[in-house]
């Protein structure tokens, strides 16, 4: 039985997301709060969580469909995201290459795909992931680190250690 999700008129569909990575893609795009924060409205009663959520500038304005672990001809299994009312810019979407390097961005206008692009790991990734090295200064003094990419791997600007994309704490 196929899984039906309504089509969107205006916004973005992110296809070919690695299976079960969809929720993390939403975190990276700041469309949901990080898993460490309560996502529901009750979080407003938690002052610290509210303040942190506000600092992180989470965009809570859009309807989102997340389809998890559906069959894919190319990938075996994949996740799909549909974001109504917001066009994700390729530069912004490139950050998701960290956890979903095969993802494809489809910009939708008037119910039609007007632009397609594959994500590409950017040369520099800023403030989306903490450095996995517990001795790194960024773990003490910053919320997240800055990484430069080297042949598909990531070097922390501060401790200079090299990590695979999957080692990063997103």
């Amino acid at each position: 039985m196929p899984l039906m999700v309504e089509r969107i008129e205006q916004g973005t569909v992110i296809d070919r997301v690695e299976a079960f990575a969809g929720i993390h893609v939403l975190e990276i795009l700041k469309l949901v709060p990080p898993a460490s924060l309560p996502a529901h409205e009750e979080s407003k009663s938690d002052k610290a969580a509210k303040a942190r959520s506000s600092t992180l500038k989470i965009d809570r304005e859009h309807r989102i469909a997340l389809v998890i672990n559906v069959p894919s001809r190319h990938m075996g299994r994949k996740d799909i995201l549909k974001i109504e009312g917001r066009e994700i810019k390729p530069v912004e979407a490139n950050k998701i290459a960290l956890i979903s390097p095969r993802a494809r961005l489809n910009v939708i206008r008037g119910g039609k795909v007007v632009q397609k692009s594959d994500v590409k790991l950017p040369a520099k990734l800023e403030d989306i992931a903490a450095c996995p090295n517990p001795s790194c200064i960024s773990r003490l003094e910053r919320e997240a680190s800055i990484f430069t990419t080297e042949k598909g791997r990531l070097r922390c600007l501060y401790c200079e250690r090299l990590f695979s994309t999957y080692e990063l704490v997103v």
Partner: protein, 300 residues
């Protein structure tokens, strides 16, 4: 003004200029340097240090600068002051900040916080760029060149930060490097790969302690504190000692280097050997760090 944070930030021509400048500094060690009069260097050492701290202080004083030493145990840090606040305050007093801190990347982060130049004097297990410059300078001084020399890096190559940056620098300068480490204490594969890819470095590896054919043997200690089994550490150290008998297999003009402090990997009787070069190497710390201060404080 320029920060000096990591050997990875330095291009070969910059390093060559620094080495040339160090040579001039060594020739004019007792000459007054007017342009540095009235300048203040702050040394912020959050970890113990003998050679690095003293040689930076000496270098600054030889240049005619004043030195403001920050002592962690007597500072407001013990009252809970943040590192950022400490840095900003010292930045308001001094013309250059020399920092050693246990957190990796601390010097780069300090450079973001401070408006005056920051010099990395060791950031945890990451970098110790001025030690690398001293090593290059000392090799060049003893052998007249670096390119084409057979350099063996010996000991606990997994944990010694000085060895990682030195491998990159030797690769950059065209030395042939042999990495000799006990099993389990080998140099990070990522650094070896980086030296090969960036500089086409010729690198071979071995678990066997052997000095034959080496022009330079650079030894570092086995870091016993990293071992859960002290007997295993002691056993490895015993198998990686530079004993006088071993030196008989070395080339006559081979130099034996060590970042110091040496513990028992080089016994005291080796100090009298013509190969022993580590004390001269340590003395190079002053002119090289004078050149580093000049680089950091240069106009434009």
């Amino acid at each position: 003004m320029a920060d000096l944070i990591s050997i990875r930030d330095l291009e070969k021509p910059t390093i060559e200029k620094l080495l040339e400048s160090a040579q001039k500094m060594e020739k004019n060690l007792f000459t007054s340097h007017e342009k540095f009069q009235g300048k203040v260097a702050a040394t912020l050492f959050f970890e113990p240090s003998t050679r690095t701290h003293l040689s930076f202080q000496t270098a600054a004083q030889r240049l005619g600068m004043s030195v403001v030493p920050y002592t962690h145990s007597n500072s407001s840090s013990v009252k809970g002051e943040s590192l950022q606040d400490t840095l900003k305050i010292v930045d308001g007093y001094a013309d250059a900040l020399i920092i050693r801190h246990p957190a990796e990347g601390s010097a780069r982060w300090a450079a973001e916080v401070c408006k005056h130049p920051v010099i990395n004097a060791g950031d945890g297990g990451n970098q110790h760029p001025t030690q690398t410059l001293i090593d290059l300078y000392a090799i060049q001084k003893a052998r007249g060149k670096i390119k084409g020399l057979n350099v063996s890096l010996i000991g606990d190559l997994a944990h010694a930060r000085a060895m990682r940056s030195l491998l990159l620098a030797l690769g950059m300068f065209g030395a042939k490097v042999k990495l000799i480490a006990p099993k389990g204490l080998e140099m990070s594969e990522a650094v070896v790969e980086e030296a090969r890819e960036k500089f086409g470095a010729q690198i071979e590896t071995s678990e066997q302690l052997d000095l034959a054919g080496a022009d330079v043997a650079y030894v570092c200690r086995i870091q016993k504190e990293r071992f859960s089994d002290p007997y295993q550490a002691a056993k490895l150290q015993a198998s990686f000692r530079i004993m006088p008998e071993l030196l008989k297999s070395a080339k006559d003009d081979m130099i034996l280097m060590h970042p110091l402090p040496k513990i028992d990997e080089i016994p005291p009787e080796v100090d009298a050997s013509p190969h022993a070069y580590y004390f001269q190497q340590a003395a190079c710390g002053v002119p090289v760090r004078m050149a580093v201060l000049e680089y950091a404080l240069r106009e434009g």
